[in-house]
């Protein structure tokens, strides 16, 4: 028998293989088409708004004619609310993750917590908005609609993301390091603060930043909690404007000047979110190098 007698894949099978492989490639390209279009249109329609005078230095004014104003108050509101939401969700989230990895481990209670945290990730953001509306707005604690209530609603959304990403990162800390510290006679809380947390720091930063990026773009929970006000305010105890709310309202306007502002604000929001994503990735790369 000569070597040429090696069996060959039948043409039909080879054709199927080729067709299916190209179909998978096509699927991937299809998946990327919307991204390309969205970025193209954001730049195409948003850049002129963003570069128009006063876009970042004036507030929306609600005038029916003339210049509708910029998005200064929306940016300030978004930054302030996301800062407060981060200040709530990141410490609490990391604390719960620490409970899961350092104390709860595989106990029943810990698994129940994991289960509900997972379930929480699937709760629609608008439902979180309703929760906060019922608990904080109806009762008029510190006024009806305020910025800090919006921040609380957003922090609820961020919480499960922070918890689950932190847990993954904390589990990556080798148990040999915990053992080394415990064997020196260190109390558990010091082991956590000085060994476990520093070792996983960059990973924790990455997870938190991804949660921030998610929280920043949320609109629905703000509708019922912070509502929208045009005026510039740094006061989290008052109604606040935010980029997503501004965009949502501007989309529904019949005026071209205002819909143009929506594109500009959309471009700004996406740019902010992307910057945070990039920082998160840099932080995670650093963690892998260490």
């Amino acid at each position: 028998m000569s070597v040429t007698a090696l069996p060959r894949v039948s043409p039909r099978r080879r054709r199927t293989d080729k067709v299916m492989r190209s179909l998978l490639l096509v699927a991937t390209l299809i998946a990327l088409v919307p991204l390309v279009f969205i970025i193209y249109y954001l730049l195409h329609k948003g850049l002129s708004a963003v570069t128009s005078s006063g876009f970042f230095s004036t507030d929306p004014n609600g005038n029916f004619f003339g210049n509708p104003g910029g998005i200064r108050s929306a940016i300030l509101g978004t930054l302030e609310m996301i800062a407060l939401a981060t200040a709530i969700s990141v410490p609490v989230g990391i604390a719960v993750a620490l409970y899961l990895t350092e104390y709860g481990k595989e106990s029943k209670f810990a698994n129940v917590i994991r289960y509900f945290v997972d379930v929480m990730t699937g709760v629609p953001s608008i439902v979180f908005g309703l929760f906060i509306y019922i608990v904080l707005v109806i009762s008029k604690i510190g006024g009806a609609f305020t910025g800090w209530k919006g921040a609380v609603a957003i922090s609820l959304l961020m919480l499960p993301i922070v918890i689950r990403s932190s847990e993954v990162v904390l589990l990556l800390v080798p148990s040999s390091l915990r053992e080394a510290a415990l064997a020196l006679g260190a109390p558990r809380w010091r082991v956590m603060l000085r060994v476990v947390l520093p070792t996983s720091l960059s990973g924790l930063v990455t997870g938190s930043l991804l949660a921030v990026a998610r929280g920043m773009g949320e609109t629905a929970p703000l509708l019922f909690t912070a509502a929208g006000a045009f005026a510039l305010t740094g006061n989290l105890g008052a109604q606040m404007n935010a980029l997503p709310i501004q965009i949502y309202n501007d989309i529904q306007s019949p005026r071209n000047a205002i819909t143009a502002r929506a594109w500009g604000a959309g471009l700004t929001l996406v740019a902010l979110v992307l910057i945070i994503n990039v920082i998160a990735r840099i932080a995670s790369r650093r963690s892998r190098m260490a």
Partner: protein, 335 residues
């Protein structure tokens, strides 16, 4: 403290018996446990309060709220079948379009794509998840809906013989557009979970298939897909949960008409959309507001059920911990 640990006086032993030094540890343990427990209590509390706020509407309409077909705020009648239908139809479209593309993407990236392109491509797909929903809405309103309108019209008239598709006016905003945007929005999460699941297929399985003389595709069909079916199903369910709950993008492109649309390209409503759209008007009418809360309650329960099923599938199909992170929207390779 350090002195007492190493010196002994008055017959005391070398080893310390001080419960006081254990106090910080116990305080920390209890604090962390309490925080974790607070999450459970919080979810339960929210749920009960939401039921409480919905009770007026529940007692008024009973099951009619879910199955009755008459949403008429000006007459204070709230039978929300049109909302439910809209939610179901748009989510179904999202799954039909989004899931195959997501799986195809995942298979391509893990099994076919050259290694050096894999990460950049994956990052690009993940970027879709970074786009805020209001920006999807913006794009849907001003770009997607108007650009696709002629295509939809052509499609509806060409295939008018198929029920639910043709045979009526095609509106600018409709179920299909909403479903299409949802498909784009769920694509990254479904794809991320599919990637996670596919990458855990043991290489022995794949090599066994290849050693039998299978082509790449046959290997995928024989070794990869059967092994990862459960996880991929979970990912799809998770996408379904996202689609059901998505509000802002849908409210902008579904048309917000409070009757059941006659076909795919007709305007409608959804549970989430009605809350966002009508909450302002309902502010001072108890029954109206209660009805919107009930819409929220139905939405909550619906997503809860879908997510519980999803979690079951995902945790069967992957390492549980990774599943949790992926469910939280954080691909494991990112952290």
């Amino acid at each position: 403290m350090e002195a007492s640990a190493t010196t002994v006086s008055g017959g005391r032993s070398l080893i310390e018996r001080s419960p006081l030094s254990r106090l910080p540890d116990q305080v920390l343990q209890w604090t962390l446990t309490a925080l974790a427990a607070a999450i459970l209590i919080l979810i339960a509390y929210f749920f009960i309060r939401l039921i409480g706020q919905s009770s007026t509407a529940i007692s008024h309409f009973g099951w009619g709220f879910v199955f009755g077909n008459d949403w008429n705020p000006s007459h204070l009648i709230f039978r929300g079948l049109p909302l439910l239908v809209g939610t179901v139809v748009t989510s179904a479209i999202a799954l039909l379009i989004g899931v195959p593309v997501a799986i195809g993407t995942a298979l391509f990236l893990i099994e076919i794509c050259p290694r050096r392109f894999r990460t950049p491509m994956a990052i690009l797909v993940d970027l879709l998840a970074a786009v805020p929903s209001v920006v999807y809405g913006l794009w849907g309103v001003f770009v997607l809906a108007p650009k696709l309108l002629p295509v939809e019209k052509w499609f509806a008239s060409t295939f008018s013989f198929i029920p639910w598709i043709g045979g009526g006016t095609v509106t600018l905003y409709n179920y299909f557009i909403a479903g299409l945007i949802l498909a784009i929005m769920i694509l990254p999460i479904v794809s991320a979970i599919a990637r996670e699941v596919i990458s855990t297929v043991p290489s022995e399985h794949k090599e066994a298939a290849l050693a039998l003389g299978a082509t790449r595709w046959e290997m995928i069909r024989m070794a990869v897909l059967p092994y990862s079916r459960s996880g991929i199903t979970g990912g799809a369910m998770l996408g379904l949960g996202r689609a059901i709950g998505e509000t802002i993008a849908v409210v902008l492109v579904i048309g917000n008409a409070d009757v059941i649309g006659k076909h795919l390209f007709n305007q409608g409503y959804s549970l989430a959309a009605v809350i966002a759209n009508e909450f302002g008007e309902a502010a001072n009418t108890t029954l109206y507001k209660s009805a919107l809360f009930e819409a929220g309650l139905v939405l909550f329960i619906l997503t809860l059920i879908v997510n519980i099923i999803a979690r079951w599938f995902v945790s069967r199909g992957t390492r549980t911990r990774a599943a949790g992170a992926v469910m939280a929207g954080v691909a494991v390779d990112e952290v």
